[in-house]
Amino acid sequence: MAPTDELPAAPEPALDARLCLDRGDFNLDVELRARPGEILALLGPNGAGKSSALRALAGLVPLTDGHVRVDGRDETATPVERRPIGMVFQDYLLFPHMSALDNVAFGPRCQGLSRPRARERAAGLLAHMGLSEHVRSRPRGLSGGQAQRVALARALAVRPRLLLLDEPMAALDASTRIDVRARLRHLLEEFDGATVLVTHDPLDAMVLADRVAVIESGRTVQQGPPAEVARRPRTAYVARLVGLNLFRGTAEGTTVTLEAAGNGGPGGSGGPARVEAHEAHHGPALVAFPPRAVALYPRRPHGSPRNVWRLRVEGIERFGDQVRVHLAGRPSLAADISPAALAELGLTRGDEVWAGVKAAEVECYPG
């Protein structure tokens, strides 16, 4: 497991949880902490256990071991209906037989508020979310973004201390996502308790969260601010999400000797590949650089690039307005070049080519 860097040093985190679930074929063990007002994103592939973690926080699945503390109070044994939580579900799950107003008033009613008081609170929240005109609407008459805000209002109406969002963007179509995401970020910022949101989309995590915890196979593999995770991924999964070439190796000053991944490829000069970075380290290290930092040459280049490898072309695909060239060898990496450069090089699968990366483009950090 990777070290959990930059955990908040606040004396009393709004959320302090260790979640252990054991269901035979699936095993989850993660520690989550968040300060008041902090938004923590659980990022991970499908089946990694992030939704299970969220359901465990809500009390919808019992823990095998661990604890859930919210604002310092132990809620581990509290049943769902009495936990100080508000949850936004993946498809929002607005009650189809109730108006938006009654959906939002449902929680306060359950907490014992009179009907007029509950509706007053609900109307206030809906107005705040810009939904005053949709108070009487049934859920099926709402757009995806509106439904999301009603669901958020419903979750906030119970005055929770911990807000949980399960894939809040998954039910939206691509054209509305940008607006809805920005608006959601804005609304989440006003909440003063801890927020935990689950997503498999790195963009959601980057935009919405203050801190990201990457979960793979039931374990936290990396935790940190979004920018840090994006710049210095710790696993192949994260590297792929944020679009970086990532290698593990051993640093001696600015030179990193890479682990021989996949027994090397053809075209290597026998020994393990080396990468020159611009920061000096000693010991186990990770090395990352973006595919667009890789330049390709038909002949061995002279001059600027400090890292030059002879590699074989494995595949070529379109990538936005660039072309992504997958290269095998020591090391195997991806390079993004322009279509014009590709045409000039005349590359096809199986060709050999020189790849160069400037040391200044290479991030090196303890592994």
């Binding site: 809500a58 919808l60 769902v80 209906e81 009495r82 936990r83 939580i85 508000g86 949850m87 579900f89 498809d91 799950l93 009650f95 189809p96 037989h97 449902f106 929680g107 359950c110 907490q111 419903r154 979750a155 109406a157 119970v158």
Partner: protein, 278 residues
């Protein structure tokens, strides 16, 4: 298709452009038509043989009206009681896991498969004046059930409630339980979840079950005649009246049958309208 004689088979309009869905095979169509005819023809026969000239006076005979009123009121009472007991039973079967749940479920559906007459005998043995429970009802409360309208209702419930339970249980199993979870995260107790979320979500299923239950209760014959008897005015429901009329006055039987048929169709049509709009 256009009957033009252009030599080029240019893109033709209509059928030719569509992929042919294929003709339904005769081996399925023939039995299907025979089946439909078998179900519809007897009802048509009722209409053909009905004594239309005297219909007006026959329908308003007091015995007919009494039997009709008894049938409608007992079937409705049986349905309401079945809802009261059957919906919670369906919830228990669908939403909880207790030891012997499968056995209980199997036992609940037994009345679906046993002949109703057997059900009537069983009811008599338990609730009759000398029955297992009936003797105490008689001794302690002075209540005797057999051969009363209450017995008609019980006989109908025994036969019809399983339809409701099965139907509602299916609806509960098909309902998205995540709505119930959402309600729980909002602080709703299990009872609140059931009343305010689960029930409204499965309302169409409950409606369908209640209609099935009501129709089955309205047509109940075997258990009723065994447990409640056949006393005009108190326990003689429409099906019993039809059967009795058939012995000495077939035309009266036809009239009663038509009335029953009409009432069923009217009720089903009205309810269907309501539930599809809801």
């Amino acid at each position: 298709m256009t009957p033009e004689h252009t030599p080029v088979p240019a893109p033709r309009r209509g059928r030719a452009l569509r992929a042919r869905p294929g003709r339904p095979p005769w081996i399925l169509v023939l039995p299907a038509l025979a089946g439909a005819a078998f179900l519809v023809l007897p009802l048509a026969g009722l209409l053909v043989r009905a004594p239309w000239s005297t219909m007006g006076s026959r329908v308003t005979e007091p015995e007919v009206l009494a039997a009709l009123w008894l049938s409608l009121s007992t079937a409705t009472a049986a349905t309401l009681l079945s809802l009261l007991l059957g919906v919670p039973l369906a919830w228990l079967l669908a939403r909880t896991d207790f030891p012997g749940r499968r056995l209980v479920r199997a036992l609940v559906t037994v009345p679906l498969v046993i002949p109703p007459v057997v059900g009537g005998v069983a009811l008599l043995l338990v609730l009759g004046r000398n029955g297992l429970l009936g003797r105490y009802l008689d001794a302690w409360f002075g209540v005797t059930l057999p051969f009363t309208p209450a017995a008609v209702v019980l006989a109908q419930m025994f036969v019809a409630m399983p339809f409701l339970v099965i139907s509602v249980e299916g609806a509960l199993r098909g309902a998205d339980r995540r709505y119930e979870e959402a309600a729980a995260t909002l602080g709703a107790s299990r009872v609140t979840v059931f009343v305010r979320v689960t029930l409204p979500l499965v309302l169409p299923g409950i409606g369908a079950g209640a209609v099935l239950c009501w129709a089955r209760a309205l047509g109940e014959f075997g258990a009723t005649i065994t447990f409640a008897g056949n006393f005009p005015g108190t326990t003689q429901t429409m099906p019993l009246a039809v059967y009795v009329a058939m012995q000495h006055d077939p035309e009266a039987a036809i009239v009663l049958s038509l009335v029953l048929l009409l009432v069923c169709l009217a009720v089903l049509a009205t309810l269907r309208e309501r539930w599809t709009n809801a």
